[in-house]
């Protein structure tokens, strides 16, 4: 888990930096002092490696122009009125007041919560199980790891089209199986309108998201599992601990930080999901599958109300903000098992 180690080392360096620049462990201190006194004063004020500003400049320019500025632009959109390209007028919080009594938006909030919570729970439970299995599978390691990871690397919009065919009312493979394949046909179930019924459609969307996100959980948790020192298990075995007790008292507690970080990451990306719902249902039927992103797209692009679209998308922000803060704190609390 390079990212976690990074974050830890990084936070460590922040603390070190505050105390004494010249004692920061990673810095290169072969500072040839040919600088003028003025340069030296700058150096004392800004740090020993002034060329660092040059190194980060391109990234800072792009991030400012294409992330920070657009973010504030979105804020201005949400507080103003007007079509794309027209002069916008300040209207205060009217857009937010409007969406808060808009029943489609309230439904979007509900959908998003159901969608994110159910798929993240499924992903973490099955991801943990899959990681444990992958750890025990010593043969054909590459085959197993390779094939379960494919949903995560293949283009989501295209693989979702495959799911769309599987759940299509007329071509549905599942309905066909329920009708033609023994013993499923004995149950007398179906045909179902998978994408045409309110709760069913949302469940299908969450299910496809689960399919796509499962490998991320499995592989990351797997990396966390193999980092747990084998000696701990050996010690537990000498004490006669059962497999279940080992899992409950060693594996799970030591995986806690990894699980927390993975869950938070996944929650962020699940909350902002667009592709799956757009391809499967476009938010229908009866707006029952709209998420923030798809509803914001509908209002902002299809209905040309960019202010309303921005207000909807921004609603996600406080939620994300809380999660990011939680995440930063988790990263700091990380255990010292070299993850």
């Amino acid at each position: 888990m390079a990212a976690l180690r990074n974050a830890q080392a990084y936070i460590g360096s922040i603390k070190g930096y505050g105390m004494a620049i010249s004692e920061a462990p990673n810095s290169i201190l072969l500072d040839v002092s040919t600088a003028e006194p003025i340069g030296r004063r700058w150096r004392r004020a800004l740090g020993p490696d002034l060329d660092g500003y040059g190194f980060v400049l391109p990234a800072v320019i792009i991030m400012t122009a294409l992330i920070v500025y657009p973010f504030f632009l979105a804020l201005w959109f949400s507080l103003s009125d007007g079509m794309i390209g027209e002069t916008r007028h300040w209207i205060g919080l009217k857009n937010f007041a409007y969406i808060l009594q808009d029943h489609i938006f309230l439904q979007t909030i509900r959908n998003t919560i159901i969608f994110a919570v159910s798929s993240v729970i499924l992903k973490s439970v099955f991801g943990l199980a899959l990681a444990l299995l992958l750890q025990r599978a010593t043969r054909w390691k590459r085959f197993f790891r390779g094939s379960v990871l494919i949903p995560f690397v293949a283009p989501t919009a295209l693989t979702t089209l495959g799911w769309w065919l599987i759940f299509d009312p007329t071509y549905s493979h599942i309905n066909w199986a329920l009708k033609h394949i023994w013993p499923l046909n004995l149950l007398g179930l179906g045909p179902y309108q998978w994408l045409g019924q309110e709760y069913l459609a949302l469940a299908v969307c969450a299910f496809v998201n689960f399919w796509r996100g499962l490998p991320f959980f499995a592989v990351t948790i797997f990396a966390g599992l193999v980092a747990i020192p084998a000696q701990i298990y050996e010690a537990a075995e000498t004490d006669g601990a059962s497999a279940w007790r080992k899992f409950w008292h060693i594996t799970l507690p030591l995986l806690r930080p990894v699980l927390a970080v993975v869950t938070l990451f996944s929650t962020i990306f699940t909350l902002g999901d667009f592709n799956i719902v757009y391809v499967l249902t476009r938010g229908g039927p009866m707006n029952s599958t709209h998420l923030f992103a798809t509803y914001s797209f509908t209002e902002g692009i299809l209905n040309h109300d960019i202010g309303l679209g921005a207000a909807i998308a921004l609603f996600l922000f406080p939620l994300l903000f809380v999660i990011v803060i939680l995440q930063l704190r988790m990263v700091r609390k990380e255990t010292s098992y070299g993850l």
């Binding site: 500025y69 973010f71 494919i150 919009a157 495959g162 493979h173 193999v226 962020i268 960019i306 998308a313």
Partner: protein, 300 residues
Amino acid sequence: MASSTVAVGVPVQVKTKTPTWRIRQSVVTYVSLIPYVAFALFPLYITLVTSVKTKQEINNPNLSPFWALGLTTENYKYLAQYTHFFDHWMINTLLVSVLATGISVVIGILAAYALARLRFRGVEAFGVAVFVTYLVPTSLLFLPLINVINFLDKFLHIRDTYWSLVITYPTFLIPFVTWLLMGYFRTVPVEVEECAYLDGCGRLRTLLTIVLPMALPGVICAILFGFTLCWNEFLYSLVFIQDELHKTLSVGVVTELIRGDIYFWGALMAACIMGSLPIIVLYAFFMDYYVSGLTAGAIK
């Protein structure tokens, strides 16, 4: 590095367990892995099977949709003859992915090196900014970015062309690449760099000749992931491009191949296969880099 931790994965061997017990355990393990593999590959299998069927076979409700009776290439031919799949969408996607990844990796390398090694006021704030921006979803930025593109269009014609994607894709790539590479750069021993300094190497030359070769796995990982993220990107491409000839693969397939109520399922599935194939091939060759990139932080 994540790859080194992966290598430690030695399952706990218990000396007192009998051979029969061990065989039973591994049978249980592999049998329980099969449903996961089947689940992961199921939609791809269905897509592949449907793409090699004729229209008649797809539309016949009595024939099983789970396998094909014969093999036909008519859907792939349709894709080549009647759509812009190969001559435009694929080329556009390739061009955008290569350029955006190239730009982002170069900028990311510089920024990551500064974060990993250099000490100057504001570097910690920059690090936090990278982390936060890397978690800002694209669904929050697509509306205002339309304005940014319209503004830039006054100077350079990028509106409604794939160049708008070359400019906007770095928004999610740079934070990711920077964060990923920072970890790899930290694994390079400082002493090596100090030697280079004593020999009179400048900062940039040290980075290029000493640090980069030693952090090569990280750079490869960043390139692969950047490329994959660009190839799979959907929302920006959908919003910024209406011109059919400038569309990227995913968006072209979703917006141009689905027309009204008549679905060209065969051609649509053939397009899904051809669109995913380059990434899956790349992935098959560089799996370990993908695994280490995946564990090195989340990807959007």
